[in-house]
C-alpha cells in the first residue's frame, strides 16, 4: 500500500527539513520513554515521601515560609520560618507536594497521554472513516443523514461533551499489569498501570467527526476517478471497490489527520484530567491542576508537566507537518480539535 514513490517523498522531505527531523526525534524519545517508563523512572511515581516534598528542580532553589502556630508561654504565637531548600540530583525535576519525583511522574504521565492519544485516535478513526467512506461513496440520503448527524456532533464542543460524558458515565479504568515489572526487570516499580477506560472511549467518540469529514471528502473525489469506473465496468462489487480503491487512496489524508488527532487528543486528555475528569492520577493534566495550589511556593509542579505536554505535542505536530508536506494530501489544518 505504500508505494516506493511515497517512501521516496517521505525520505526527501525528511532530509530537507530540520523540523521534520526534530519532530521524529521528539516522538521517538517520548514513545521510548513511555514504553520503557519503569526503566527510565528513577522512583516509583506513586510513593509519597513527605520529608522530601516540594524540592525544586536541579539548578533552582526556593525558600519556603512555613507558618506554624505554637503555644508559647501560654499564648498562641505565629512563628514564621524561612527555609532555603536546595535541589538534589536524586530528584532532577524536583518533587511535588507529596514528595513524589516530578521526573518519574512525567515519565509515567507520558504513558497515559500516549495511550489515550493512540487508542482514542484509533477508535475515532475506525468509527469516523467507516461513516465517512460510506457516506461519500453512496452519497444521497445516506450521506445527508450521516453528515447532518456529524453537524450535530460538531455543535457540541468536544471538551464540553467529553466532560459531560466522563462526568456522567463515571471514570472507569482498567488496571493493566506492567510487562516490565511482571518480567522482573524493574520489580521496584508499580506492578500495574491504570488505563483510563472511559476517557479513551469518550475522546474517541467526540472526535470521530473529523475523520468522517475527511474520509467523506476523499471518498467523494476518489469515487469519481476513472479507475473506480474501470473496476465497476468489470463487475467489481461496492465492497470490493471500497476496500481496493477508495480506502487505499483515502489513506494519506487520513494518516495525516490521525497524526494531528493524536496531538489533539493528548491535549484533550490533559484538559480532562486537569479538571479532574479522568480515571488516573498519573497524568500530566492532573499534576498541573495539583500544582496550582502551590504556584506561589513551588512553581515547577505545574510547570514541568506542562512543558512535557508542549514538547510532545510539538513533536507530534511536526511529524504531522512532515507527513502532510511529503504526501501532500490536500487537507488544511481543519483536523485539529484540541480541547485545550
Amino acid at each position: 500500500m505504500i508505494s516506493p514513490r511515497t517512501l521516496g517523498n517521505l525520505r526527501r522531505e525528511f532530509r530537507s527539513s530540520a523540523l521534520a527531523k526534530l519532530g521524529v526525534l521528539i516522538v521517538v524519545v517520548v514513545v521510548g520513554v513511555a514504553v520503557l517508563a519503569p526503566m527510565f523512572a528513577p522512583h516509583d511515581p506513586t510513593t509519597q515521601n513527605l520529608d522530601r516534598s516540594q524540592l525544586p528542580p536541579v539548578g533552582f532553589s526556593t525558600t519556603t515560609n512555613s507558618t506554624s502556630t505554637e503555644m508559647v508561654n501560654g499564648s498562641l504565637e505565629v512563628i514564621n520560618e524561612t527555609n532555603e531548600i536546595n535541589a538534589t540530583l536524586t530528584y532532577p525535576l524536583g518533587t511535588d507536594s507529596l514528595g513524589r519525583g516530578m521526573l518519574s511522574r512525567v515519565i509515567y504521565g507520558a504513558r497515559t497521554s500516549l495511550l489515550v492519544g493512540l487508542l482514542g485516535t484509533i477508535l475515532a478513526a475506525v468509527v469516523g472513516v467507516s461513516v465517512g467512506l460510506v457516506a461519500g461513496y453512496y452519497r444521497g440520503r445516506v450521506d445527508d443523514t450521516l453528515m447532518r448527524s456529524a453537524d450535530v456532533m460538531l455543535a457540541f464542543p468536544s471538551l464540553v461533551l467529553a466532560i459531560a460524558l466522563v462526568g456522567l458515565w463515571g471514570r472507569a479504568a482498567w488496571r493493566v499489569p506492567d510487562p516490565l515489572v511482571v518480567a522482573g526487570i524493574t520489580p521496584e516499580m508499580p506492578a500495574s498501570f491504570v488505563l483510563p477506560g472511559t476517557v479513551i472511549v469518550v475522546v474517541g467518540l467526540v472526535n470521530w467527526v473529523w475523520f468522517a469529514r475527511v474520509a467523506r471528502g476523499e471518498a467523494l473525489s476518489v469515487r469519481e476517478q476513472s479507475y473506480v469506473k474501470a473496476a465497476r465496468s468489470v463487475g467489481a462489487s461496492n465492497s470490493f471497490i471500497i476496500r481496493r480503491h477508495i480506502l487505499p487512496n483515502s489513506a494519506t489524508p487520513i494518516l495525516v489527520l490521525g497524526t494531528i488527532q493524536v496531538a489533539a487528543i493528548i491535549l484533550l486528555e490533559s484538559a480532562l484530567s486537569f479538571l479532574g475528569f479522568s480515571g488516573t492520577t498519573l497524568s500530566w493534566g492532573f499534576d498541573i491542576a495539583r500544582g496550582r495550589d502551590y504556584l506561589a511556593s513551588s512553581w515547577w509542579i505545574s510547570t514541568v508537566p506542562g512543558i512535557a505536554i508542549v514538547l510532545s505535542v510539538i513533536g507530534i505536530n511536526l511529524l504531522g507537518d512532515w507527513l502532510r508536506d511529503a504526501l501532500d494530501p490536500g487537507i488544511g489544518g481543519e483536523g485539529g480539535s484540541g480541547g485545550a
Binding site: 455543535a155 457540541f156 471538551l159 459531560a164 484538559a271 486537569f274 496550582r292 504556584l295 484540541g338 485545550a340
Partner: protein, 329 residues
C-alpha cells in the same frame, strides 16, 4: 435576492442541526446511569417522597411525552428548574452567558487581528527570519494547552509581577463602558482590562496560532495558483496581488475552518473559565455535571449548541456578503 435565499437555506439547515442538538441533550440523561430523583431527594427520603418527586418531574410519563414536554418547554424558553437551587434554569444559564461571550469575542478579535497579518507576513517572507519566528510561534501556540498557559500567565503576571487579576470577571465590559460614558471615568475599563487580559490571552493564543498557520499555508497555495501568475502577467503590483487577490481567496478556507473550530473555542472557554474562576457557562457546566443538576446542564448545552449554529450562520452570511461568489456555488 440570492443572498437572502442563501441565508434562508443555511437557517433551515441550522434548524435541523439545532433539533438534533436538543435531541442529543435530551437523550443524554437516558444513557447515563443514575437517577435524578436521588439528586433531589434527601438520602433518607421515603419512597412516597420519591414518587412525588418523580411525578412532579414527569419521570413516570412515557419517553415521548417527556421529550415533547421538553421540546415545548424549550420553545417557550423554559429549561426547567435547577435540582439544586430550585430556581429557573434558564435564568441561571442566561445570567452566565454574557461573561462567556465577552471572553470568546475578545479572544477571537485579538486572534484575528494578530494572526492574519502575521500569516501573510510569514507567507510573503517565506524562509526569512520573520517566517521562522511566526512558524515557531504558531507551532508552539497550537501545541500548548490553554489551561496550562493560563496558569503560566498567572505565575508570571499575577504571582511574580502582580499586574493582572487572576480570578473573577470584575465589572464586565458593558458596565465598564457605561461608567466611562456616564461618569467619564476610565477606571472601570482599566479594571475590566486587568481582569480579562490573562483569560483572553490564554484562550486566544491557540486561535492566533491556528489562524496564522492557516493563513500562511493558504497564502502560499494561492500565490502558487494559475490566476496569480495571470495577475502578475498583467503587470499588477505585488501588494495588489497579495492582498486584493491572494488574501481574499485565502480567507475562504480560513473562515470555513474557523466555523468548524468554533466548538474548540467554546470548549477552550470552558476550561479557561475554570482556571480564572470566570463566572461563565463553562464553570456552570462543570458544577452542574458534578452535581448532576440536569436542567442546568441540559440548558447550558442547548445554549452552547444553538450559539454554535447561530454564529456559524452569521459567519457564512457575512462571508457571502463580502464574497458573493459563494452564493452561486
Amino acid at each position: 435576492m440570492a443572498l437572502g435565499r442563501f441565508v434562508l437555506k443555511r437557517a433551515l439547515q441550522g434548524i435541523v442541526v439545532v433539533w438534533g442538538v436538543v435531541t442529543v441533550v435530551f437523550g443524554l440523561r437516558f444513557i447515563t446511569p443514575g437517577n435524578p430523583i436521588s439528586v433531589i431527594a434527601p438520602l433518607d427520603a421515603s419512597p412516597e417522597t420519591r414518587q412525588a418527586i418523580a411525578r412532579e418531574l414527569g419521570l413516570n410519563d412515557p419517553l415521548y411525552v417527556q421529550y415533547l414536554d421538553y421540546l415545548l418547554g424549550l420553545l417557550q424558553g423554559d429549561m426547567g428548574y435547577s435540582y439544586i437551587s430550585n430556581t429557573q434554569a434558564s435564568a441561571q444559564v442566561f445570567a452566565r452567558l454574557p461573561a462567556t461571550l465577552e471572553l470568546a469575542v475578545v479572544a477571537t478579535i485579538v486572534a484575528v487581528v494578530i494572526s492574519i497579518p502575521l500569516g501573510v507576513l510569514s507567507a510573503t517572507r517565506r524562509n526569512e527570519p520573520a517566517d521562522y519566528g511566526a512558524t515557531l510561534f504558531s507551532l508552539a501556540g497550537i501545541s500548548t494547552p490553554n489551561f496550562w498557559l493560563g496558569i503560566m500567565l498567572v505565575l508570571v503576571f499575577a504571582v511574580q509581577l502582580e499586574i493582572f487579576k487572576t480570578s473573577g470577571r470584575g465589572p464586565g465590559f458593558v458596565s465598564a463602558l457605561s461608567m466611562l460614558v456616564t461618569q467619564g471615568s476610565a477606571a472601570g475599563l482599566l479594571s475590566w482590562l486587568s481582569y480579562i487580559t490573562l483569560p483572553a490571552l490564554a484562550l486566544g493564543t491557540y486561535f492566533t496560532a491556528l489562524i496564522t498557520r492557516l493563513t500562511r499555508s493558504g497564502m502560499l497555495d494561492e500565490l502558487g495558483s494559475a490566476y496569480v501568475k495571470a495577475v502578475r502577467a498583467k503587470g499588477l503590483p505585488e501588494t495588489l496581488v497579495r492582498y486584493k487577490h491572494a488574501l481574499r481567496n485565502t480567507l475562504v478556507p480560513v473562515i470555513t475552518v474557523l466555523g468548524l473550530q468554533l466548538g474548540t473555542l467554546i470548549g477552550g472557554a470552558v476550561i479557561t473559565e475554570a482556571v480564572f474562576d470566570w463566572p461563565g457557562l463553562g464553570t456552570l457546566v462543570i458544577t452542574s455535571i458534578t452535581a448532576r443538576d440536569w436542567p442546568i446542564l441540559q440548558g447550558s448545552l442547548v445554549v452552547i449548541g444553538v450559539g454554535f449554529v447561530l454564529i456559524n450562520i452569521a459567519v457564512d452570511t457575512l462571508y457571502a456578503y463580502v464574497n458573493p461568489q459563494v452564493v452561486y456555488e
